[in-house]
């Protein structure tokens, strides 16, 4: 076996045989599943009280606008002198809505009073019922024949744009949410993976340096082989953990769904299904399980609209590229210090880029085709994190190819650059190393 192979073998086996690794690998999916399932089940338990809302309409224009539903019961009360008995009204009802003036002319002439904190759901409910009704009324004011039709006609273009996924409106909507959810999840996962395993490389380099084994190692292998062996081994550890997690999460969710899902009502399944689908690309099989009921059918069609295979493949591509880029930087940083606590001055720029990438990623979820998202998915230091968020929105192939190409070229250059720092740094002890010195090392001959 080649020397680098031996190093990879040792570094890999010592890590996957660690108790902490085994524990993390098994426990995390359980926690993960718990996080998905518990809120899904809890959301089924709704507040059963119907809240009574008194409406005082001083304008007497909106008598039939607000319709009661299973959450709020809207009751119109005749106008009372607000001063004398509003206390009674407030005590008897959950909240009081007072309309003072014509709402078309005065958009803010409606107020909700309550002695409790008013839940946003109530506000949303009222505006959702009022807005379309008011719009329609306003259109009538313009007194243009067929205005409503004209507007509907002109809004068709907007619809065409969003109809990318399917044929009916609701489906378009839900898969858009799903896409951004999948994008955000994969972004956060890739961010965590790159930095968790990158800093694992750094810790290991510092350990080898501080316990002085490194001088013995480099008398047998080239510093480059030692560094690459370590980086590659940790990459395998990361991929191993990723695959085990995917399998475990799929397995656990699958069996839970198989046991409970078939017996409960379709609503229930769809809730769990949505939560589950959004977390885990490997759940296509579950979709098949649910094919028997109508809601599940819809989920499956949403599932089909997102290219999970592409996302999974690109995840691995970007993980490897981004990981090698950052892990080699982390290895170089590790070689520059004598102990963990000295890493700050070199870590700061790397950490700043990281956090910037994550923020751009999260921001891009709402604007996946904007210039910031585009450029940051080309810049190699941010592209793995930012591109993951854009992937579910059908990124053109040339953009993907360009971004991956830039990432891999930069990774190779960074590895070369890092290995120059590494081979000098690992044998430097005792003195604090400055950036200026590091640049001098590039001139050293080996």
């Amino acid at each position: 076996m080649s020397k680098i192979g031996l190093i990879i073998e040792r570094e890999y086996l010592t890590r996957v045989n660690k108790k902490s690794f085994i524990l993390m690998t098994i426990l995390l999916p359980l926690i993960f599943v718990g996080i998905i399932l518990i809120p899904a089940f809890l959301s089924q338990v709704k507040d059963s009280d119907i809240k009574t809302i008194a409406i005082i309409d001083n304008t007497e224009l909106y008598g039939d606008v607000l319709k009661s539903n299973d959450e709020f019961n809207f009751v119109y009360v005749p106008e009372i002198g607000l001063n004398q008995s509003n206390e009674n009204v407030i005590r008897d009802n959950y909240a009081v809505v007072v309309i003072d003036k014509n709402l078309i002319e005065n958009h803010d002439a409606i107020t909700i009073f309550s002695d409790k904190i008013i839940p946003p759901a109530l506000k949303t409910e009222i505006s959702q019922q009022f807005n379309p009704w008011l719009s329609e009324k306003k259109m009538e004011y313009y007194n243009i024949p067929n205005l409503k039709n004209i507007i509907e006609d002109s809004s068709v273009r907007i619809n065409i744009n969003t109809l990318k996924w399917g044929e009916n409106g609701s489906e378009v909507n839900s898969s858009g949410e799903l896409a951004s959810l999948i994008g955000l999840m994969t972004t956060i996962v890739i961010y965590m993976f790159i930095f968790a395993f990158g800093s694992m490389v750094m810790t290991s380099v510092i350990q080898e340096k501080t316990n002085r084994i490194v001088e013995i190692m480099v008398s047998s292998v080239k510093p480059f082989e030692l560094m690459m062996g370590k980086i590659i081994a940790v990459a395998f550890v990361g991929l191993t953990q990723f695959l085990i997690w995917i399998l475990l999460i799929a397995g656990i969710l699958g069996s839970i769904l198989f046991v409970t899902g078939m017996a409960s009502d379709p609503e229930n399944i769809s809730e769990i299904g949505k939560a589950m689908v959004s977390q885990n690309p490997g759940m296509n099989q579950m979709g098949e399980l649910m094919v028997t009921n109508p809601v599940a059918g819809e989920i499956q069609s949403i599932l089909a609209s997102v290219n999970f295979v592409q996302i999974a493949i690109m995840f691995i591509f970007y993980f490897i590229g981004g990981y090698f880029l950052y892990a080699s930087l982390f290895a170089a940083i590790g070689s520059l210090v004598d102990q963990d606590t000295d890493t700050q001055q070199f870590m700061l720029p790397v950490t700043m880029i990281n956090i910037f990438a994550l923020y751009v990623g999260i921001y891009s979820a709402s604007n996946p085709d904007g210039p910031l998202a585009f450029w940051c998915s080309m810049i190699p230091f941010t592209s793995p994190v930012v591109m993951m968020v854009r992937l579910p929105y059908d990124v053109p192939y040339w953009e993907l190819a360009l971004s991956v190409g830039i990432l891999y070229c930069t990774s190779l250059m960074t590895i070369k650059f890092a290995s120059k720092i590494y081979r000098t740094g690992i044998l430097m002890y005792g003195k604090k190393i400055t950036y200026k010195e590091v640049f001098k090392w590039f001139r050293y001959k080996y």
């Binding site: 190093i7 316990n211 047998s220 001959k445």
Partner: protein, 301 residues
Amino acid sequence: MNNILEARDIVKHYADHKALDGVSIDIPENCIYGLLGPNGAGKTTFIRIINRITGPDQGYITLKGKPLNDNDISTIGYLPEERGLYKKMKVSEQIIYLARLKGMSNSDATSSMKQWLEKFDISDWKSKKIEELSKGMQQKIQFISTVIHKPEIVILDEPFSGFDPVNAELIKNEIIELKNNGSTIILSTHNMNSVEEMCDEISLINRSKVMLQGNVNDIRRKYKKHLFRVVVSEDDIYSDRNIFEIVERKPLVNGYQSIIKANRGIGNNELINDISGNFTIECFEELLPSMQEIFIEVVKS
């Protein structure tokens, strides 16, 4: 005697200083070669260049007449001064791993490891983790790792540090045995007694340059101070012709011992004749300077 390793005009710069400045060293085959010098003189840099951990800015090194290349490092065993092992690894795993990195096969490494553990009578440590061992025990494992692949050149940087006298003796005997089995040993140490006892040749490096080089006995003769230890039966030694001075004297059970310093150009026989004219010589010995004295003299000048 052929030279196994020749270093020619090695120059190595670091950012702000010259670590080696035109160092040339020839190491004869099958000898113990002492590399001496104060801390920071450039010994470690030189050793790292031989190990190909780092490269010279100028100059070259040949091994058996051919330029040193990357494949040669499997014929070298290196015990650094600052040493360490993977703390979480088991003794057997550690030794086999390092042996395989030097190019041994798994089975060769395993059987060789067993022999060495038996030789040092430590077979029952095999499945202990390195961190469970005492410092002296770790040093033994380190020594085994250095020589397990039967290197032709063994480089030992302060091999005795951290050993108790019993184990230091054990290691010393191992080093001599390695030499008897045909290896060449490069010994870097501050322990001048062991240099006198073991080394055939030395180079003394100070401030990046070779200050002194050659056979240990030749060097000691070259630096001799013309001091002699003479024991005579009678009291009060003196010189008829004033060819020596008395430096120190003290009575012994069987006579009187004096340390005398002969004048320049006086041969040993002349000295003996002069003394034997008046005294009965019980013992006559020329005192050669110790390597310790030579070291201090060279480094201070």
